[in-house]
């Protein structure tokens, strides 16, 4: 991901020019400040040469350096460097000093050379000797010059480095700050529920992110359009499928109410049973399609208690038909969601609980809040679901081996789909029935809020 970081990318782009600017800046500051200092040191050497030159005595026959040792000592004393000198006669012969000290190559008054394996800075000063001129060379080691150069370099680099660091810091935090509208935007999108396809408020975002926002809104609009098309298709499919099934069901029931031969009756009963199963399957497939992201409506505040109260009538009749005692323990349980889907999920749980109950068994539907989270759960006294089956029963078309009954294996898959759409957690556990039955408790726990 580092390669995709805008910040790292910007830094990588900025670093070479900043470094180059730093180098140029340092050089620009270095030479103007090192030159006067170097010149001053050279001047000191020239002064020494002049002082030595003043000690040359010339006669018509010879040149001689008449320098008392104390003077020489004073002249050659330096805190850091060793000072050498050489006096050459107009004829080119050595008069005094180190005869090995290298002369200048050209006419330049000051130059660098190597002497006894050390780098020296030298000056060459012509000194009048009678009618001619002697040459005085004075050189010194580079200790204080190197030191000076280093100091100048450090002092000129220091502010440059500070500026560079400041630049990088500004980029680092500036990018973060500059991108904070994007971060807010992504937070807003992240906080949305998967089914929420409303456009993002472009007016609330800064101008620079508006093209992004409007592109996103365009996409959302398309997605929501296609979701609506899908919903329309589903509504039509539902109608086309359900009406003939209702007719088929009516006619098989009518036929079964007639006096028909037993051989025929068995077939009719199969047809009738298959019709009811098909009808339920069609309903479940439609519910499953509706539970998928495109089918969800805008989430509203829904109280699970009210959802259940609205359905209780129908469920009680289902329960009565199977002689099951359906009861309720309802407390307020507000959630953000799609009421028809929540009703579908709960209806599936109640249907399963009734379906797998013994005659006279109890089924209890409970809602409320636990630890700041709303929940709904359905409990029965049926055979329960073995721990190793609890994951698999949520899969589409999976049925616990040995299960009888008319189920399609879709009910819990629908519940899982709807729970996922609401960010709710499904827990399947034992409820503990009488006579040692395992019983089953399926709980949906909704996110905080």
């Amino acid at each position: 991901m580092a390669a995709r970081s805008l910040r790292a990318h910007l830094l990588r782009m900025l670093l070479p020019p900043v470094a180059a600017l730093l180098a140029v800046g340092a050089l620009v500051a270095y030479y103007p400040s090192i030159e006067p200092a170097t010149e001053a040191y050279d001047q000191a050497l020239v002064d020494i040469a002049i002082a030595i030159g003043a000690q040359i005595r010339s006669t018509p026959t010879e040149y001689r350096l008449d320098m008392p040792p104390t003077v020489e000592q004073v002249l050659r004393t330096d805190r850091y460097d060793t000072i050498y000198y050489r006096v050459i006669s107009p004829g080119g012969s050595d008069i005094a000093g180190e005869p090995e000290l290298p002369p200048p190559l050209g006419d330049s008054g000051s130059y660098d050379a190597v002497f006894k394996g050390q780098k020296l800075r030298l000056v060459s000063v012509p000194t009048p000797c009678g009618r001619f001129a002697c040459t005085v060379l004075v050189g010194e080691t580079m200790v204080k010059r190197t030191r000076l150069a280093r100091e100048v370099l450090v002092y000129s680099l220091f502010p440059e480095v500070l500026i560079a660091l400041a630049t990088l810091l500004i980029v680092w935090f500036g990018v973060k700050r500059g991108l904070s509208p994007l971060a807010r935007l992504s937070e807003e999108i992240k906080a949305r529920s998967p089914g929420d396809l409303r456009p993002i408020d472009a007016a609330a975002s800064p101008e620079e992110t508006r093209p992004l926002v409007s592109a996103l809104n365009g996409l959302l609009e398309e997605v929501s359009q296609s979701a609506q098309n899908q919903q329309r298709f589903l509504a039509n499919a539902a109608h086309q499928l359900r009406t003939p099934l209702a007719g088929l069901q009516a006619h098989t029931e009518l036929a079964l109410a007639q006096p028909v031969p037993d051989s025929c009756r068995a077939h009719l009963e199969h047809v009738h049973e298959a019709t009811i199963r098909t009808a339920r399957l069609a309903n479940q497939l439609l519910a499953l399609a509706r539970a998928e992201p495109g089918g969800r409506g805008t989430p509203f505040e829904v109280n699970l208690k009210n959802v259940i109260e609205g359905e209780a009538d129908a469920w009680v009749h289902q329960a009565l038909a199977r002689d099951v005692d359906l009861g309720f323990e309802l407390e307020n349980a507000p959630v953000q969601g799609d009421a028809p889907l929540l009703r579908e999920a709960l209806a599936n749980l109640v249907h399963n609980a009734i379906e797998y109950s013994q005659r006279g068994g109890r089924v209890t539907v409970r809602t409320g809040r636990r630890g700041g989270q709303s929940f709904a759960e359905v409990e029965d006294e049926g055979p329960g679901i073995a721990p190793q089956e609890r994951e698999r029963v949520l899969e589409r078309f999976y049925r616990v081996p040995g299960t009888t009954g008319t189920g399609s294996g879709l009910g819990l898959a629908i519940v899982r789909e709807i729970a996922a759409g609401h960010g709710a957690k499904i827990d399947i556990g034992d409820a503990g029935g009488p006579e040692g039955t395992r019983g089953c408790r399926v709980a949906l726990t909704f996110p905080h809020g």
């Binding site: 009406t243 003939p244 209702a246 007719g247 029931e253 309802l330």
Partner: protein
């Protein structure tokens, strides 16, 4: 009773007709909403079974026109869609009950019976439920033709349950209907009245079912 079925699926319409005729009703069938509105304006029906998904004039529009013409008969809406907005819209427009296709026929006939019973009882001086008869003007009750003694509160609770036969009635709504202004009636008191009603009515086969944690439901009377 005279029933009108408005359904464009011929197979379902004929099935419904046969089943309701078997229940002893006179049944007319039409497949078009316009015809249904016309028929209802000219003749008197005791109940209309109305499909929402009709071609051209849909069921919502038919319902709206029936109610605009102040036709009082109960309307049972059938729909192939389960979207809750449809249900709410239907009930807002004055539908009395609502069934999603496909449905089991016994459930349909039970709902038709309940709607007819309620509309007959509505506003009338006599409420009949199997062997039980309440004369609301004389405030006298009869069971199997014999006078039945009911305390005032028992009467009130029974009236609430009879008005919603086969529907769950919550304890709170019974309390609201039974308690006078400023009275404080506990849910336990309601339990007492219901248990007294049970001991008086159950020998005649009238059952009041307890729905745990919710309330009570007067079951449909089934003669044995």
């Amino acid at each position: 009773m005279r029933l009108l079925i408005v359904e464009d699926d011929a197979s379902l319409a004929s099935g419904l007709r046969r089943i309701l005729e078997a229940e002893g009703h006179a049944v007319d069938v039409t497949s078009r909403g316009e015809d249904a509105v016309l028929a209802a304006s000219q003749e008197r029906f005791d109940l209309v079974i109305l499909d929402i998904g009709l071609p051209r004039m849909d069921g919502f529009e038919v319902l709206r026109r029936l109610r605009a013409a102040e036709k009082p008969m109960p309307v049972l809406v059938l729909t192939a869609r389960d979207a809750v907005e449809d249900r709410v819209r239907g009930l807002d427009l004055g539908a009395d009950d609502y069934m999603v296709k496909p449905f089991a026929m016994p459930e349909l006939t039970a709902r038709v019976r309940a709607l007819l019973r309620r509309s007959q009882a509505h506003g009338g001086p006599r409420i009949v439920h199997g062997p039980l008869m309440l004369d609301t003007i004389a405030r006298r009750a009869f069971l199997r033709g014999e006078p039945l003694e009911l305390a005032a509160r028992e009467w009130a609770v029974l009236e609430v349950l009879l008005a919603k036969t086969e529907k769950i009635v919550s304890k709170e709504s019974i309390i609201q209907a039974v308690a006078g202004w400023g009275e404080d009636l506990s849910p336990n008191a309601i339990e007492v009245y219901v248990s007294r009603l049970r001991s008086k009515l159950e020998p005649a086969g009238i059952k009041i079912r307890t729905v745990r944690g919710f309330g009570y439901m007067l079951e449909e009377f089934k003669a044995h």
